[in-house]
Symmetry: C2
Subunit: 344 residues, 2 copies
């Protein structure tokens, strides 16, 4: 990687020069990758497994703000959010393709930073970057990632398998990425108002990292396999707990009841929410970008999932006619509402 003080204009190296430079550091991990970048298409050998494929689009000004999002982190996150979808199928991610739209404000060094973050994620998750497209953009940075994964017929988990009396579980904790986002936004506004003031992120490293460098729960998929639990349904938490619960209920044609006091929230998330006059539970329900796994398991698996530090049992599955509710700390039942972006 070159020093930040150097700036090489992208136009000076051209499309093919850029592709050569970016792809020089790609390592391949998967035996199924027969051909990576460099032809019209990558070639993957999938034997008798199921191939799963998922795609995500990240746009500057919508999904990220480069004024506080380091490019290396952004690259890392762009890969991770796609892998999270593959894990949510109980599958193993194997390959990704990456398309980049780059405006002239980006130097080669900046693009290399972005790509270095992507490759760091690929190496960490042992996923092969096998192709993509680079293009100029008049509209800021555009990142599109497609991930492929594999899974056997017996292991695959859809959103549609939840059944009445199943336990509703979630990995890790929720709301942290959203509180990290709110914190970074606040510090950006402070900085814009007075550039002398340094960002105050002291003691808030966890929620900042949840926003800037999330991880996909490969470890939870492994844990479930190790303890012999196959979820009946699963989804990753990208839009917020409330929205994901609605998805599971809709696809499985069931209702759910979730207990507010069981929703796992980290102390930093809780404190930040209080500091910003927000309800901590709302950050978990509607914040999103946690990339935790929300899943249901059969009641008979209770002993296997209880007391696992990475898994919280937060509710149970009901008949569809009973609706989708949260039981609050005070014992009242509130109907949950769907979220998703409203950014148009």
């Amino acid at each position: 990687m070159l020093e930040n003080s150097t700036r090489t204009e992208l136009e000076s190296i051209g499309e093919f020069g850029l592709i050569d430079l970016l792809t020089a550091h790609i390592n391949l991990h998967q035996p199924s990758t027969l051909k990576g970048v460099g032809d019209d298409a990558a070639v993957i050998n999938h034997l008798n497994n199921r191939t799963v494929v998922s795609t995500d689009l990240l746009l500057e000004g919508v999904h990220f703000d480069l004024s506080y999002f380091p490019l290396k982190h952004l690259g890392y996150k762009a890969i991770v959010v796609n892998l999270s979808d593959i894990y949510a199928m109980n599958a193993k991610p194997t390959q990704v393709t990456v398309s980049l739209g780059l405006s002239s404000k980006f130097s080669l060094e900046a693009v290399e930073e972005l790509y270095a973050g992507m490759l760091m994620a690929c190496n960490r998750y042992e996923v092969d970057l096998v192709g993509g497209d680079t293009s100029s953009s008049k509209q800021g940075l555009v990142i599109s990632v497609t991930a492929l994964g594999e899974v056997t017929e017996e292991d695959i988990v859809y959103r549609s398998g939840a059944k009445v009396n199943d336990l509703l579980c979630v990995s890790g904790d929720l709301g942290g990425a959203y509180m990290g986002f709110q914190l970074l936004e606040r510090e950006r506004r402070v900085f814009l108002a007075n550039p002398e003031v340094q960002p105050d992120l002291e003691g808030k490293d966890y929620i900042v990292e949840r926003q800037l460098k999330p991880e996909a729960r490969k470890d939870v998929i492994k844990l479930l396999k190790d303890i012999g639990v196959k979820p009946t349904s699963m989804i990753d938490v990208s839009d917020g707990l409330s929205s994901e619960i609605m998805h599971l209920c809709r696809h499985s044609n069931v209702g759910m009841n979730v207990y507010e006091d069981k929703i796992p929230i980290d102390p930093q998330t809780y404190d930040m929410a209080r500091e910003l006059d927000l309800d901590p539970t709302m950050t978990a329900l509607s914040g999103g970008e946690d990339y935790e796994l929300l899943f249901t398991v059969d009641q008979s698996d209770f002993d296997k999932v209880k007391n696992k530090p990475d898994i919280s049992i937060i509710g149970y599955v009901t008949d569809a006619s009973e609706g989708i509710y949260m039981t609050s700390k005070s014992g009242n039942k509130h109907a949950l509402k769907a979220q998703g972006w409203k950014a148009f």
Copy 2:
């Protein structure tokens, strides 16, 4: 599809409402598609075949101008350019994923037009649209398509298999899409200067269609199979003949000699180039977006490929040390230069 006179704001239906509406018309064609849209990832059953995957990013203002590109055509083209990459591996495209970034200037009706064009292409090529992502965009329309295909180990064709004395062939004709683009650009400028003037596209339907509604050469892949010819190397013509020849030479470590008078150019392309004071050969070499197939075949296949209306033999493969040349109509040899975008 609703009438154009109706305008439904995207914000009034939200992300999930939009996804439901757009995906309601998807037909599945491939037995290998076990699960399409609606979960974290699509699920594909690939048995013992190779999976090939290719991806493309199309950005407003860079790859298309909505002032003359009808949205339905744009959707059609966005799919076709990806399928073309799959055919260029001698593979059969089977699934696509589509990510859209939409700014608030697009109504639901506009997005439905775009999507209708995509589904038209999917139906025409019997490809399944199995997933994607929709997002708001502050930057105009963003389209990212990833295509998957399958091919047996014996049939797959890379860019790297060309060998000395192979024949260099191209399907269809070249330069038409670029001349269509130049014509549409000219008429747009005339219209901007004087909105009373109607576009003059009379007798130029072929080159306009080459730009606005290109097709992938599924028929040529079938023809080659029918006549028992397996190309030794292949690529699709997206950046221009010159650039694609360079790719084949580089990946196969060979040289090539192409004859200017063998390059297939349609009369409409030729006339339009002359009208615009351009060299018709240059439109074929550097124009791009033809989505024809450029491939090499063994000399022993000469009798099989000669006299096929859809195939032109335009040159032959030489040792790498002999370089990459075009022999002009006057008999002079010119070194070919790489192209690719210079749009940064």
